[in-house]
């Protein structure tokens, strides 16, 4: 549900002022897409629950911070009175807090059953900041960070019901807020320039099938289904060997392209679009079909492979001065991850170290990469580790163009990103 909208004219002015879209210097624009941001915060929420769902806990607090460097963004310089390519840093912070209430106590082992009600609040903040040096003379130099462009806050308020190991339900609201910093770099969080409120729910049955949907104004905005084949096969054959591959089939359907000014493409036609503040809009949905295989090949090592194919329902066109029809790749994404991942029970300490390579296609890649001529596909790389010593843990990683991060934010193309997280669980 859209609460208030006063942005289109501002966006149109910016968009009209700075074309073409194909440039290493770009407007902070795709960040404005609440569809992908809602999907991202929901995915982060579900990823945290993937860890928590097998744990016996009453309280979990989790924080993550991620920096992406070298954003050259056209930014207004009040001194010169002009828009200039300005190096900014994208900061993303994510936090979640979960209270769990076991009705009748926790189960004794993973084969047993129990009933848990949990309340969760999750927040994800995106913001572009400019680091500025302050020379304090003999007292040295310090750095301050000024907010530039809009800051985005995506929050989830959810209730979860777990009847382990049979059934899991999550439901709640996703709230997207956008705030603009004042000219002097200070922020006021009392009056968002734009706000959306969406509903979401997710269910999982017997660890076999998962289904999730978020809904805006009564219509599904994104839908995801996944089926874990080995769990299903477990009903008819023995799949408990650690060397039996975990195979997951997935399907996603997203209202990805809506002819908004911040979208990377026009849908169906480019004629008469973007030439005034109001124009007829078309929509195209993105369908992604995926296969994931996780294979343990030694007691301490696993390899995970993912392959995603895509179908976009309508023709899409670039937003260049001379728009061209985009030749959509049938492949959306693939990655291979090699992990050192010793086996542990659900409530034992664990650690994991991993590295991997990926490939990702998106029509916005060429807008945000250093050399647009290289096209809409990029190869990526990741290295990271995480540890979980039952009541405390964290992770860290560095990545460049890795597909899972580009899926969250395509603006990160051709930029290094580093990330760290910590959690406390009682």
């Amino acid at each position: 549900m859209k609460i208030r909208l006063n942005l289109p004219i501002v966006l149109f002015t910016i968009f009209a002022a700075v074309t073409p879209a194909r440039s290493a210097v770009y407007e902070a624009s795709t960040l404005y897409n609440s569809v992908s941001r809602a999907e991202t915060v929901q995915e982060l929420y579900m990823t945290r629950w993937d860890v928590l769902k097998e744990k016996n806990f009453y309280f979990d607090i989790y924080g993550r911070i991620n920096w992406v460097f070298d954003f050259d963004v056209n930014t207004y310089n009040s001194g010169s009175g002009e828009y200039e390519a300005t190096e900014l840093r994208l900061t993303r912070t994510y936090g979640s807090m979960t209270f769990a209430i076991p009705i009748g106590g926790f189960r004794k082992d993973e084969e047993g059953s129990d009933f848990i009600v949990a309340l969760n609040t999750t927040g994800f903040h995106y913001g572009l900041v400019k680091d500025i040096e302050v020379d304090r003379g003999d007292a040295g130099t310090e750095s301050i960070s000024d907010y530039k462009h809009s800051q985005f806050f995506d929050d989830i308020y959810a209730v979860s019901i777990l009847y382990r190991p049979y059934f899991t339900f999550h439901g709640g609201y996703i709230i997207n807020n956008e705030y603009e910093p004042k000219e002097d770099g200070t922020m006021s969080y009392s009056d968002p320039v734009e706000s959306y409120k969406k509903k979401f729910f997710a269910v999982e049955l017997y660890k076999v099938m998962a289904f999730s949907m978020n809904i805006d104004e009564g219509r599904p905005e994104s839908t995801k289904v996944s089926v874990e084949l080995n769990q299903g096969l477990g009903f008819i054959m023995d799949t408990k060997s650690i060397y039996f591959p975990a195979i997951t089939l997935g399907y996603e359907n997203t209202a990805a392209y809506n002819d908004e000014l911040y979208d990377p493409v026009w849908v169906d036609t480019y004629t008469n679009k973007g030439t005034s503040a109001h124009y007829d809009k078309d929509s195209a949905r993105l369908h992604v079909y995926s296969l994931k295989v996780n294979q343990r090949f030694a007691r301490s090592f696993t390899v995970e492979g993912f392959l995603g194919a895509q179908y976009i329902t309508d023709e899409i066109y670039t937003k260049e001065n001379n728009p061209e029809k985009i030749d959509v790749s049938k492949a959306k994404e693939w990655y291979i991850l090699l992990s050192y991942d010793p086996i542990a029970k659900a409530d034992e300490a664990t650690m994991k170290a991993y590295t991997g390579v990926s490939w990702y296609w998106d029509p916005a890649i060429m807008i945000h990469r250093n050399n647009p001529e290289k096209g809409n596909a990029v190869y990526g790389w990741i290295i990271g580790c995480n540890f979980d010593i039952v009541h405390f843990g964290g992770d860290m990683k560095a990545e460049y163009n890795f597909s899972s991060d580009l899926k969250k934010l395509v603006e990160a193309a051709d930029k290094w990103a580093v990330e760290g997280s910590l959690f406390v669980r009682i």
Binding site: N77, G79, S80, V134, D135, A139, I144, K182, D184
Partner: protein, 150 residues
Amino acid sequence: MIEGAITERASFSIEARQVGDDVVITWNETDHSSNFAGIEIYRTREANDEYSGYVIVADYLTGAVSGDLSSGTTTTCTVNKPADDSATVPAGTSGIYFYRVGLIHWDEDEDDRTAENGYLVPWDGLNFDTNYNNNTDINEVSGSAMVEIN
């Protein structure tokens, strides 16, 4: 919240205007902390560039044309315009400059301002200037205020 805790962000607003050969700066924020060490005034390094970085033009040690920068309750001060201020970089004579106010704190509570923590002892008196330069940080910084200097 996490990012805000580990980086310095503008947390209050100020106003600045040229009056004759001076620049008058006013703000509302006060600092009653026992670790308050002083107020510092910064301006942009170069004319007509908001992102050129900031240099200090007045602090507790050098003082301002007027305004007590040693008091956390001070909310106004006057500094020389860029052509005449004490910044150690070439100053422009005219153009648009941006000013900020920094509220400075000691790195340690008074009982911990010891030699082990890097202070000359006693931490105040004759050693105050050295300790101020070596053991203080910006605790709060204002947003920027633009002034067109004639």
